[in-house]
Amino acid sequence: MQELATGFGTTLLLFVVTLVIALPLGLIISFGSMSRFKPLKYLVKGIIWVVRGTPLMLQILLVSFLPQFVFRIMNKDITAFFGISMSSLMFIFVAVAFSINYACYFSEIFRAGIEAVPRGQYEAGQVLGMRKSQIFFSVVLMQVVKRTIPPMSNEIITLVKDTALAQVLGVIDLLNAANHAVNEYVILTPLLYAALFYLVFNGLLTVLFGVVEKKLDYYKV
């Protein structure tokens, strides 16, 4: 049970880190994919295509090999330089891969949300003398948030379960911990406990999204 709790902590940390990085990064990527500067637009679209078109597990492995194969830096040198443990480094690799991967998915959701805001909203802002940034942050953003909550909740719930992929680099997440326990004590219950953890966690998220959606019910877009 102790191991399961620790594993869940790791899962939770990965979840939070990914969200904190991928949400703003996704917004930035969505701007890139809508850019009027064609080279940037197609570059970003290409990146989104590759990231969404290949398995996340492959991307995690790729990120973990990048320092050695491309930059010729050994992992043990990195850990020594920053004074972190090997397992922390592996966690960082996983978090980087997750953040990039999810940012690309989020960016498409943001793009849909932004493009759904009627032109008239921008024009109203313009004739009222607003700057582009003022229009985006004061007029458009809240409408985007409202529109994107249902698809976002989908993606975020998937993220909870995807964290289990962290074990390809030996990170002891919830599922990995449960698996160890199953092998060690030859009982099935750890897996069931793990399932319960995921379920409850996602249940809480579902409730939370419901509450937010309700909170934003006061206006229609």
Partner: protein, 296 residues
Amino acid sequence: MSFLEVKNLHKSFGSTQVLKGIDFSLQKGDVVSIIGSSGSGKTTLLRCLNFLELADTGSVFVKGEEIFNAQKKYADRELRKNRLHFGLVFQGFNLFPQYTALTNVRLPLDMQTKERLARARKAMSKTSADSVAGAPAKTSLSARFKAWIDGKKSFAEKKKQALEENAVKAERILCDVGLGEKMNNYPCELSGGQCQRVAIARALALEPEILCFDEPTSALDPELTGEVLRVIRSLKSPDRAMVIVTHEMQFAAEISDKVIFMADGVIEEAGTPQQIFRAPQSEKLKAFLRNYAENR
């Protein structure tokens, strides 16, 4: 000198020429209605005046000052500033759905207030920095810190006061358009006519010299057009000019000092409401008015 003067405006979208040389002028206090069948370029003309579209050729003067010339390149900031000579009320209201009626009216005012104060503060901190540099070098750090805090405080106070003034102004204008009761309602809780009145209040709050209306009643149920037209009528004032694109001929005849009939991207005929509606000259205008009379 004319209050507003438009010279030789041309605008094309791709290969379609929408405006083929528009010239007109109006005086302070004038109300000008623009009529014409759909596709004649009325809306495009208004959008060019508000720089939502940039005309391909031509120029716009307000009180003799050139605020737009198609030959010149304008920075976004300049356009933003020059645009404020004009206000625009849209056919589809375009209220911001996440804000109450009051906030819709206040928001642009508050933004301008904040920008103005931020600029003033920058200028002041620069002069104070200069004076510090000129003063004996040993102004103590704590004294400087205190001055900085004081400056911050006084600006926070000024800002609070200015924002309160904005709120009062917004409330007054909303009362003027008859929405004193609905100030704290969201657009989705208001009828179309009420929404359009909020939109008018929002445009008025910035005190534009020339207020433009783009078919302000076309998106409304017939029984709601009355309240909006009443408000527009009440806005006629010697201090501002109004340009109204409309399909309400009765209304145009009664409120306008001048009526412009557009057809195929040019001003086909212009004159007083009497001349346009009682004694039309061109065949196109005659056909348009006949068609209108038959279809209502």
